[in-house]
Each structure stands twice: as C-alpha cells, then as structure tokens.
Symmetry: C2
Subunit: 479 residues, 2 copies
C-alpha cells in the first residue's frame, strides 16, 4: 500500500494549486511531454490515443454532414499569406519562416502554415469555374505552427494538432448554414462524447478570427472557473474569395463571388477534458473516448484459477466491443488501482479467489468510487450500461458546476465584487463599444468577453457606460 | 454515348506513353494536383480517401502487433540532426531550413523533419533508464519534407504523407525480430489488401537507408516493368543509441546500449496501386481499400419506380457494410459508366425498368468487364462474394504479370540482351563488390539492385567480374 500512495502523492491537490495539479496530471498520466524543440510537444501514447478517439468520433460526425478530407501543403509562400489583409496582420507576427531548401536560399520564403485559408483559396481559384463545382466541403487533420512565447501542454504550444475545415459556397445563405452546422457538430460532439457542458455564441468584433465576418465559439468552464475556447466556426462572407479572385458562373452565365467558411478544433480540447473532469487522483475520462474503458485487476493472481478466470472475462468483454485491458503485472493491486485512477479509466474490475467462488466480480466506478458487485454472467450486460451511466453522470456533474458558477451583474460594482470573490463566468449587458469591453476586462482583473448570448433577456443599459445595451455577454477569464 | 468516350479519351493509352497515362489518370480521377508551393501536392478527396483506407487497414495491423501511436514535432534543431554521422550526410542536402520564428532570427536553425529518428532518439535518451522501460514500439502518421528537384505525383514530391515507426529494444535479437515483423506486416498488407505481388529482401550496402545496418524492402513491379520500392524496415543496431547516449540498466544493474529499428510506408504506395492495376479506362481499385466499392447507376431513372428501387438497393447494401454510392445525377448513364471506370470502383450495378420487372439487377466487374445478372434478393449475398473474387483476381493477374517478367541471366551478354529487349526484372549473381553493382547498372541502362534474394539457388560466379558470388540479386529499373 506504500506504493499506492506514492503515485497520487506525485500530484498536487487540485484546490491547492490548480496550475501545478494540471502539469502534474499531464506528466504522471504520460499524456505529453516537452521536446527538445522549444515550445513543441511530444504527444505520448496515452495522450495520442485520446486524440485518435476524438478524431475518429468527430470525423465520423463530419462525414455524416458530407465533409470530404484532403491534405494541403505544410508550407505557404509569403505572397499567398499576404493576400488577405486582416489575415496577414493577424498571423505574420507568429509564423516560422523557411528561407533555405536543401543547399539553396529560396527565391521566396515560405511560412509553416499557422492555418490554411490561403492555400485552400489559392487552389479553389484555379478549379472553381461554375456553380456545378460548388459547394466544396473539405477538411484536413494536420498540425499547425504558431510561434508562441509562453507555452503550456495542450493549451498553448508552438505546434499543435487540429482539424481545419474549409468550405466554399455559391450563396451567402448556404455558407452561413454550413458555418452554423459545423458549430452544431462541435457542440454535439463535446457535450455528448466528451461530457462537457458548453456556453456558446458569436464572438465580439475584437475576439473574432483574423479575416472573419462572424466567429462562433463553444466555451467550456474549467474547474478553476476559467473559460477554454474549445472550437470555432468562422463565416468569411466573400472577403477571402475576393482577395483570391474566386468567382463562379451561375446557371444564367452571370459571374458571382463565392462565400467561404472555416472551422477548427484542436488538441486544446484534451486540456478541457483534463480540467473539467479530473480530480485529485488524476484523470477522469469520459467512457466514449477513453482509450481503455475497463481495466481488469486480478487479486491474488498467483492463486490457482484467478488468472484463467480474469482472462476469460477479458476475452468476453473484448468480444462485446468493450475497450478492455488486464493488468497481470507483478505490481501490487494497490499500485495498479492508483495507476488506473491516474489514467482516468472509467471502470476497474477486481476479481479474486473469493469472487470466483461466488461467481462474481467487483466493478469500481472512477467517477464516484462506487463499488458494485456483479455476477460474472451479467458482466457483459452491466458494463455497457455502467459506461453509459458514467458518461451521463460526468456531464451532469460538470453541468451543475457550470450552472452554479455563472453569475449575473447589473452594475460594475456588482461585477467587481463577483470577480473578486468568485470563480466562474458573469453575464452582463454591453453597448457594443470596444472601449467598454476593454475597460470591463481591465477593471475586473481579466474578465473578457467569451461570447454573445442569444435569446437572453438583455438589460437595457451597458454595464460600463450606461448607454443602450446591444448584447448580453458571457464574461470570463480565459486560457 | 458521345460523352462516355470523352472521359476515356482524356487519358493516353497505357502502352503508347506510360508516363503520360499515369499523369492523365491521376488528374482525371482527381487524386491529387500540384499546389502553388513548388513540388508540393494537394491531396484531393479521391486520393486522400484512398490514403485514409490504407492508413486504417495498416494501422489496425500495426496495433495488433503492439504498436502505439505518438506525434513528435515537425521541426528538428540542426544540432540534433547532426548527431548521427551517416544520417546527416544522407539528409542534409535535401532538408528545408527554418531560420526565423515570428519576427526574430532563431539562435539555432531547425529543419522540417525529413524523417524523425533523431527526435525519437533524443526523447528516448531522456526517458529510458531501465530494462523495465523497454521495449518502446512507437509510430506516427505524419508528413515529411525532402527538397527534391524533380517531382511526380505520389512517386516523388517535396512533402509526402507516410507513417514512420520507431522502436527501441534491450537486445539485438528482439530488435531484429521487430524489424522483420514489420517487414512482414508490410508484405501481408500489400499482398492481401492492395492485391500487389511483391519481391522482397534486404537491400545491398549501397541502397541502404542512411545510418542503417540492414534495410529490408518490399518491391512491386509496375506495368512498365519498373520497380517501385513500396515499404522499408530498417535495423540500426546501436548506432543511433550510441550517438544519442541511450543506455539502460539490466536486471543485474549493468549498463547496456539499446537497439533500434524504424520502418515506413508512404503515399508512394498509391502510385503502385495505380501503376500495377490501372488500365486504359483509368484506375482499378482493390475492393478492400476502394473508398467506394459499389456504384449504383439507375437506368431510365425518370421512369416510375426506378429511383425508389435503386434507393432501396442502396440502403440494403449500406446496411450490409458495403461502401456503396448511387449516381442519380442528370448525366447520361454512359457518362456515369465511364466516370465509375475512371475512378476504379470495383462493381457497378445497373438497374432499370426491365430489370425491376424481372426482380433483378446487373453487376458489372471493373476488373474484367463481365456482366452478371443477379436477383434482387440475392444481391447482399452476391456483392461481398464478388468483391472478394475481384480482389483475388486482381492479385492473380498482377502475379502472372510479375512472374512472366522476371528473367534469369548467367552472363552479362544475356543480361544486356534481356535489358535491351524486355521490360521487367533480372535475377543474377553478384560478388558483393559495389564496383560490380555500379557497372552492371551502367551497362544495362539502369538495372540497379532491388534486393538480395534469400533462399535462391545462387550461381557460383559474379555475373560481372567472374569472382565467387555472394548473393543472388533481383535487378531492375526503378522509380
């Protein structure tokens, strides 16, 4: 039992130092690690397996809406990056430049893609001629690079993994629909598969993506009350199409501008999973994306028949499409329990000589620590039910946390008081003026606008200047 | 029917100009296209879908042998690339260099990875302490960049997609076993899933990977008789481990060098699929990796009941896990037939009013053009059978082509005669001297050594110098 404590002791308690707890969990669960390349991560097997499951589930949802996957180059010539004014302003300061290829200096330097709108538009300009060529609904799973100064595992690193979808449409309406559809895909994926409740809506002018007309965001609340922007969908109108000269002939042979969208979700979302669900024992993974859903730990495994019975159970669960493993190593059961908890595996099954005698085993839930004795012939029925129950419970718990940490402020005094004494988000009305937005953030120690809340009762006046309010905003500190 | 011809007319006949036929097929089947980034490709939906299926099948085979996926950075600091002498000599002339990050010049320039042995070893040196940490069996699916001068779609481009596996072991024996195991995985995958017969064995000294002790290769014969290196598995001994200082403590607390392997397969393999199976009508895809296995083409689709019946068939096949689509567009059936052939879809199903009357449909095989009338209630049984039959037939056809284009030479005169009058490979004995290898290549207009043939009866003397022979070699021109 000395060993058991050791693993948990390696992580700082969540409420003592949340940032340190996060770093400890990432390290001890072996999700990722810094590489020798400054600011770049090595995504290790445990972390990458999580990303693979996220990718598979999300990709399936994409394809159901007609998305096709492609792959465009890692390099962008400088002249292409410069074509859309707002875009280059947003990205130029943070890209890495390739100046030499082989032994020669390049005639034109290229950056490593920070995002690929320019490459998609450049290609579309060449291939789109007629309305028959539209829509184009493309996506790629790749890595991008942004030369960040400060980095944190999953949350901010120079290179990160993501998907970037890019679409081109004949009409404004169709493009807006696609933008909202993908926003909805993200919402459904994160709430259903990751068990993370969300706040969502459009970004304000100052928080939009470089070059976008509208940016839709999904925002999750971490256990420390801060927001993590978890996915965005952008509507560009025809700004990129115009900059790149993408035009198409309609049925009547008239030339039109095309309309564009893009949308992305990155490995940041792994940070959200950790910080929404994790606890003092480590990760807690939602069953739907957990690489291992069940860990079987044989008790007194050297005793006759124990390993046989445990292996039988392993095979039966595998046959029933459960992602299950068995730990029959020489470590003590206590150490194994601790390890399985650190890794966030949803269910642990203990099976020892006494259990076998009674034709049963013990299921232990990672989310509640509840122990459930189950007859061996009922395990294949019970495990999927329990996984679904855990998934639901994790969402409910996170939703309760989110709801109980959203405050409403009607005056700046109220807002400042909430900000000083609570963690979480604050709803407050706003006139639409960027100066007020900045002042609110400055005077509340960092509560920036997360998104515009639709269908919310808006107070009459801006909380800062007192002029007529235009929107109700969800304010919060952010990662 | 005018339209039908049009599509095929766009491609050059295979035996008139093979290189042009290849380029035409890649273009007309919309697999990939050049981007504005010199020498880099845009992988388009049809080409990328093929890569996704290859990836899924191969990844499954990897995981069955215990491989874990990871992701390491796109950048390699110059000092890391330089650590292994042979490796840097092999790659330095063809990497792209990043010299600036954001607005600043980097203290040390980084290259975009041409391959990642150095990154894996650098990280392993930090984390491997004891025999308990071994083996490490890691793989990543990524892109790499090599500054090639001349490029061809899939066969040679500056950036290409691949997987690179890297493994670290306590013993020589275990590392060699892993190297051979992955070689076997490639062999099985390519012969079983891609229906491509192979020649395989070790590379000669001059053809080995930069830094490797042994390189195993699988080589396929294209329709023009040239070889395409389709996958390689390298055994490094402890050369990289020594260069990076990777040592581990064994059970008795003695310090040892670790042993390394790496193995890779790239989007080049798509070139092999095209050039082994394609014909004058376009692509011919092996059913197991065809993104669409069956295309339903309704005949006289405006007539009552046709589309309903065709849609019913579509749903039934989908429910039976067949990757099936229906083309109910306004194009003529002839044009649709031609398009389905260009894309290499294994089976086309024609269903029209007369078929429906007789409760049947017509299955047309892409590989043989054979038409098979099948009762509608037998389609779900017949289609999977036929897909399997097509898969087998494609392999048999390619195997026959390969076998009938392998010659044996006992004298240089014979070799030169074969090389002048035939396409294909030549088996001949060799003393092991690099000078002879080079001379043979020079005097046969490019027949280089593809691999060393094991378990082959070796003639006594080297075909070039007449000294004692060491190996029987498969010689061939290559891509």
């Amino acid at each position: 039992m000395a060993n058991e404590k050791k693993l948990v002791e390696k992580i700082t308690a969540r409420d003592v130092d949340f940032a340190q707890w996060y770093t400890d969990v990432v390290k001890e669960a072996k999700l990722c690690d810094y590489s020798s390349v400054k600011g770049c991560l090595n995504y290790l097997p445990n972390g990458y397996a999580l990303w693979e499951n996220i990718k598979n589930d999300l990709d399936k949802r994409f394809k159901e809406t007609g998305v096709e996957n492609v792959y465009l180059p890692v390099l962008i010539p400088e002249s292409l990056l410069q074509k859309e004014k707002d875009h280059i302003e947003g990205f130029a300061p943070e890209v890495a430049w390739v100046t030499h290829g082989g032994l020669e200096e390049l005639e034109e330097r290229c950056c490593i893609r920070p995002t690929s709108e320019t490459l998609f538009c450049d290609y579309w300009q060449k291939i789109v001629k007629s309305y028959r060529d539209l829509p184009l609904v493309w996506n790629q799973w790749n890595s991008v690079l942004r030369w960040e100064k400060t980095t944190r595992p999953f949350l901010r690193s120079r290179e990160f993994l993501w998907q970037e979808g890019h679409t081109l449409h004949a009409t404004d309406e169709e493009a807006r629909q696609r933008c909202e559809e993908m926003f909805k895909v993200y919402y459904d994926f994160v709430t259903e598969d990751l068990a993370i409740p969300l706040i969502c809506g459009k970004k304000t002018e100052s928080e939009k993506f470089a070059g976008a007309e509208d940016t839709y965001t999904i925002e999750a609340m971490m256990h420390d009350g801060k927001a993590l922007q978890s996915g965005t969908s952008h509507y560009f109108g025809h700004s990129f199409a115009d900059a790149f000269g993408i035009k198409y002939l309609d049925k009547e042979n008239n030339l039109h501008s095309a309309y564009e969208t893009s949308w992305g979700m990155s490995t940041r979302i792994i940070g959200a999973i950790i910080m929404v669900h994790g606890d003092d024992s480590g990760l807690v993974l939602p069953p739907r994306i957990a690489p291992t859903q069940v860990m079987i730990i044989p008790i007194a495994q050297h005793k006759e028949g124990v390993l046989d019975k445990a292996s039988e159970l392993l095979d039966t669960l595998k046959e029933n499409s459960i992602r299950v493993k068995m730990d029959a190593s020489e470590k003590t059961p206590g150490y194994k329990f601790s390890e399985q908890e650190m890794l966030g595996i949803p269910i642990r099954i203990e099976i020892g000589p006494k259990d076998i005698e009674q034709e049963q085993c013990v299921l232990v839930r990672r989310d509640t620590s509840e122990k459930i004795i189950v007859k061996l012939d009922e395990v294949t029925k019970k495990v999927p039910e329990l996984l679904e129950q855990i998934q639901k419970n994790m969402y409910a718990k996170a939703k309760e946390f989110l709801d109980s940490h959203i405050y409403e402020a009607n005056t700046m005094a109220e807002f400042k008081d909430i900000a000083a004494n609570n963690i979480g988000f604050v709803k407050a009305s706003w006139c639409g003026d960027e100066a007020c937005e900045e002042n609110i953030k400055a005077e509340t120690n960092g509560f920036g606008s997360r998104c515009i809340l639709e269908n919310e009762q808006v107070a009459d006046k801006c909380i800062y200047c007192g002029k007529d309010a235009k929107h109700k905003i969800m304010w919060g500190k952010s990662y």
